[in-house]
């Protein structure tokens, strides 16, 4: 009993650790790829590991007040918690213990903690940055929530693990609901704050916005947070539309299935991340009101079309996955 429990806890820790490592690796790959697209050499792929190590080892750490500490604590804890609720490569850590709507709200914990810490400095850039981040959130959540709704009414479940099972037995989300998948990918670009939606952190306008006053271990932990959130957001897309990368049923193939599924999942999130990075590499930046108008116009229309498709298939045609 206790041993089983310890093995479980160890596995969860391993998966969470790997997620953060993959996130840092992806950040490095993104820098390299962007540099090659823009005809530069770029830093080595492992650069972000060095950065985090340096920042966490710094002797001088500066804060303005105690509310400042909320940012790294809530951001890192929140993103790890959200990752724990997300099936990665078919491995269900806690996803049986809560559903998609719980996950949606857990994803708000790191963002809110980060916003609190950022606001605690007197730097107006931070306040403006958080305002932009929240507005961007209101923008991309509109299509994204419609997409989630389409999935939930089509597969008739709000539970992520059931969603994976139903995708495995029926059809992947991207096959069943391709229109919603398109809208979700558009929303994902804003969720990951890649160009043209890197408005909240716009380095040339507002000096990295919410990050402006953080340094040393604060910045290091926030880098771990953003590494985790890259994996979180790409995995969310893969879990929703690509069956979570589950190609072999663990019930039949045992441990091999977990390894193969993990590798497939890794390839899938890499592809989703690369799409975002390649768009990021060639686009300029929107203004925030342009981003808002864009999201509430085209992705929302696409998401509504996807919702109509899901509604017709589920309610009128009686398709039951």
């Amino acid at each position: 009993m206790i041993v089983d429990w310890l093995i479980q806890a160890g596995l969860v820790a391993l998966y969470l650790f790997l997620a953060v490592v993959i996130g840092l690796l992806f950040m490095g790959i993104a820098r390299k790829v962007t540099a090659r697209v823009q005809n530069r050499v770029g830093p080595p792929v492992y650069q972000n590991f060095l950065d985090v190590g340096k920042l966490l080892a710094k002797k001088t750490n500066i804060k303005h007040n105690w509310i400042f500490d909320f940012a790294p604590l809530f951001a890192l804890a929140g993103v790890l918690l959200a990752l724990a609720y997300l099936p990665m490569g078919g491995y269900k850590m806690l996803s049986g213990e809560g559903d998609l709507i719980l996950l949606l709200y857990i994803m708000a914990i790191p963002a809110l903690g980060f916003a609190l810490g950022a606001g605690a400095s007197a730097n107006p850039n931070a306040g403006v940055g958080v305002m932009r981040a929240l507005m961007l959130m209101l923008s991309y959540e509109m299509p994204f929530l419609l997409v989630l709704l389409a999935l939930m009414i089509f597969y008739n479940t709000a539970s992520l693990s059931t969603l994976l099972e139903k995708q495995m037995s029926f059809a992947w989300g991207i096959v069943a609901l391709p229109i919603s998948a398109l809208a979700a990918d558009l929303a994902l670009q804003g969720m990951m704050m890649e160009k043209p939606f890197d408005i909240p952190i716009a380095p040339h306008e507002i000096a990295s916005g919410p990050l402006v006053e953080f340094g040393g271990k604060y910045l290091g932990m926030l880098m771990l947070y953003s590494a985790g959130s890259i994996v979180l957001e790409t995995t969310l897309f893969v879990d929703l539309f690509l069956g979570g990368g589950v190609v072999l049923n663990p019930a039949h193939y045992g441990i091999i299935a977990y390894v193969v599924n993990y590798l497939v999942w890794f390839v899938f999130i890499f592809i989703v991340w690369m799409i975002a990075v390649l768009i990021n590499a060639v686009f300029p930046r929107f203004r925030i009101e342009q981003a808002f108008k864009f999201y509430w116009k085209w992705p929302t229309v696409i998401a509504i079309l996807g919702l109509i498709q899901a509604y017709i298939m589920s309610v009128f045609m009686g398709v039951v996955p």
């Binding site: 509310i67 709507i101 730097n123 209101l138 929530l145 203004r287 808002f292």
Partner: protein
């Protein structure tokens, strides 16, 4: 226990308290507090000791103390207790009058909750409504008039509903309404009138216009009005739809996926209210108005649950009403503490107060977690129940409106946090002290249920389940730590353990290195070194969003009402011009009238 004891403890005792506290001078809130505490103790002792008592005094009246009454009394009792505790140190002018009126409102609320006949319901409703009117009058006659207009409208609606029932049954008792003599088309009128009448108290769009004004009065009172008394609207709608009429009558209007066609429009109205209230709250700079619109939006969620009428939806509605009672009262008290210390109520004029008032900040932060539905508070669970209730029935208009409104809630929540408590501390606020101890105690009391019921939702879901089964509805699906819908579920014990463990992981990484505290204004300014920069970016915070919404914000229900009233005022002004005061004109009118009558008479004959 009999009817007289019940009446004595919950009605007469607060009335005596109201009388005594009027002469209490500055100790009046404390006297009122004692009386509220006594009724609270009886509420605790009498849990489970329920009963229904019919009294015949020419007409049959009924007082009932059951789990529904108990559940709502629990909210209202706690909220008024903390409001009065807050008022102890709030230095109100004429504190005696304030406490008296608060206790009168409390008496009215208790009466509304206890009565199971329309006559006493109406009398206590009016007692509550008028004491609220006078309490708003203490701040501004203009605000009070706006409230009065809608209060009277509400009373008219309710009395019309009651009138139709009495016309058919000849009895004021709730239970007699179901005796089968009322035809179903009359039920439609009765329910629409009653829902609209109680909906005024819940500030459902388009009946919300009074709320932003009324909620700008004194904070201890507003916290009671928004947290406590608005739940009487919830209670009224819940009783009239599911107890007086019942599911059978509701379903006789036809159903749409198991939801009554009479309930569905109100659920849609609730979702629209949630959306519009939230969007309007985002653009407010006055903290009181922001909280007022937020309150409108949150009660929209409750209305969605009441309209949908499945067990999950009703459980969510009752739970959300309960949560709203606590977090919104807490927010109003927090705003009151800040206003008490700074004398300002514009968000952009404050800033940085979180470092001077840390406890107020933490309490308000917790309330905001509840408001935004972060799973660390019970605010999440009630919202979850409402979402899943809409999603499991595949309602594709109600669900997205609710979901996007809750994203909007993050925006105005952060406006409160950043504008008031974070950001640069102003020079004039450097000497601001923490709020007095009674205020902090009041806020602490309100914070506790939000935390406790997030860890152990089974306790409150047990009460809600009792309320539902007592009304004759299906039970909800829950255990001590988990709750389920037909499409999902969540376990709060796992959530809390996982959160705690991962939080300690973060803390472990965090405390490896020590951090040094520097002056708050020692900021990065891209190489520029201004001698003193005190910028607080809170002015017109969501301007880009406001610009984008400008074409929509042109339309306003508030202004529509004003135009409507202006039309009549102008029209009557024109009519008034007939009275010129010149006898020759009057003679001419006579002649013209005579001619008209002559022509008409000639034509008729």
């Amino acid at each position: 226990m009999d009817a007289l004891t019940l009446f004595g403890i919950f009605i007469l005792l607060p009335l005596v308290g109201a009388l005594l506290s009027y002469f209490g001078r500055k100790y009046a809130p404390i006297i009122a507090l004692i009386f509220v505490a006594i009724t609270g103790i009886f509420l605790y002792v009498w849990y489970g000791n329920f009963g229904s008592y019919t009294v015949d005094i020419g007409v049959k009246l009924n007082l009932t103390f059951d789990i529904t009454t108990w559940f709502f009394m629990l909210m209202i009792n706690t909220v008024i207790f903390s409001s009065l505790l807050f008022a102890v140190s709030a230095d109100l002018k004429n504190a005696g009058g304030f406490s008296t009126l608060m206790l009168l409102g409390f008496t009215g609320a208790n009466g509304v909750l206890l009565s199971r006949d329309f006559l006493s319901l109406y009398l206590f409703w009016e007692l509550m409504s008028w004491s609220v009117y006078v309490l708003i009058l203490r701040t501004s006659g203009e605000y009070a008039r706006r409230y009065l207009l809608f209060g009277v409208l509400s009373a008219y609606f309710i009395i019309m509903g009651i009138g139709i029932i009495y016309y058919y049954t000849g009895s004021f008792l709730y239970e007699d309404a179901l005796s089968g003599v009322i035809p179903y088309y009359a039920w439609a009128w009765i329910l629409v009138f009653l829902i609209l009448g109680f909906g005024v108290k819940m500030a459902i769009i388009p009946l919300h216009v009074w709320a932003p004004y009324a909620y700008s009065s004194e904070q201890p009172f507003v916290s009671f009005l928004s947290g406590g008394l608005s739940k009487l609207g919830t209670f009224g709608i819940y009783m009239s739809m599911y107890s007086i009429a019942g599911v059978g009558i509701l379903d006789s209007f036809g159903t749409f996926r198991g939801v009554s066609l009479l309930g569905y429009p109100f659920a849609l109205l609730g979702a629209i209210t949630a959306f519009v209230g939230t969007i309007l709250a985002i653009f407010q700079d006055d903290i009181r108005k922001l909280l007022a619109y937020s309150s409108i939006g949150q009660l929209g969620y409750v209305m969605v649950g009441l309209g949908l009428g499945t067990s999950l939806a009703l459980g969510g509605a009752l739970f959300h009403a309960f949560n709203h009672a606590f977090f919104k009262s807490l927010l109003f008290l927090g705003a009151g503490a800040v206003i008490y210390r700074t004398g300002k109520y514009k968000i952009s004029e404050m800033g940085g107060l979180g470092y001077r008032m840390p406890f107020t900040f933490l309490f308000v932060l917790f309330a905001i977690f509840g408001l935004a539905g972060i799973p660390l508070t019970s605010g999440f669970i009630s919202k979850w129940m409402l979402y899943e209730a809409a999603i499991e029935k595949k309602f594709v208009i109600i669900a997205p409106l609710m979901l996007i409104a809750s994203v909007g809630a993050f925006l105005y929540s952060y406006r409160i946090l950043y504008g008031i408590f974070l950001g640069g501390l102003k020079e004039e606020h450097k000497k601001v002290k923490e709020a007095p101890a009674p205020m902090l105690a009041a806020m602490f009391i309100l914070m506790l249920p939000l935390l406790i019921f997030s860890i152990v939702p089974g306790w409150i879901l047990g009460w809600i389940n009792d309320v539902l089964t007592n009304t004759g509805l299906k039970p909800i699906d829950y255990t001590q730590f988990t709750y389920y819908s037909s499409i999902g579920g969540a376990n709060m014990a796992t959530f809390w353990i996982a959160f705690m463990v991962l939080f300690f992981v973060a803390v472990a990484i965090f405390i490896m290195k020590r951090a040094r505290v520097v002056n708050q204004y020692d900021n990065y300014f891209a190489g520029e070194a201004p001698s003193s920069v005190a910028l607080h970016a809170a002015h017109n915070y969501y301007k880009p969003l406001k610009d984008t919404w400008a074409p929509m914000l042109k339309y306003s229900v508030d202004r529509a009402y004003e135009k409507f009233s202006k039309f009549f005022v102008d029209g009557f002004y024109e009519i008034k011009k007939i009275y010129t005061g010149n006898p020759q004109d009057y003679a001419a009118y006579l002649g013209i009238a005579f001619l008209i009558f002559l022509i008409i008479g000639w034509w008729l004959l």
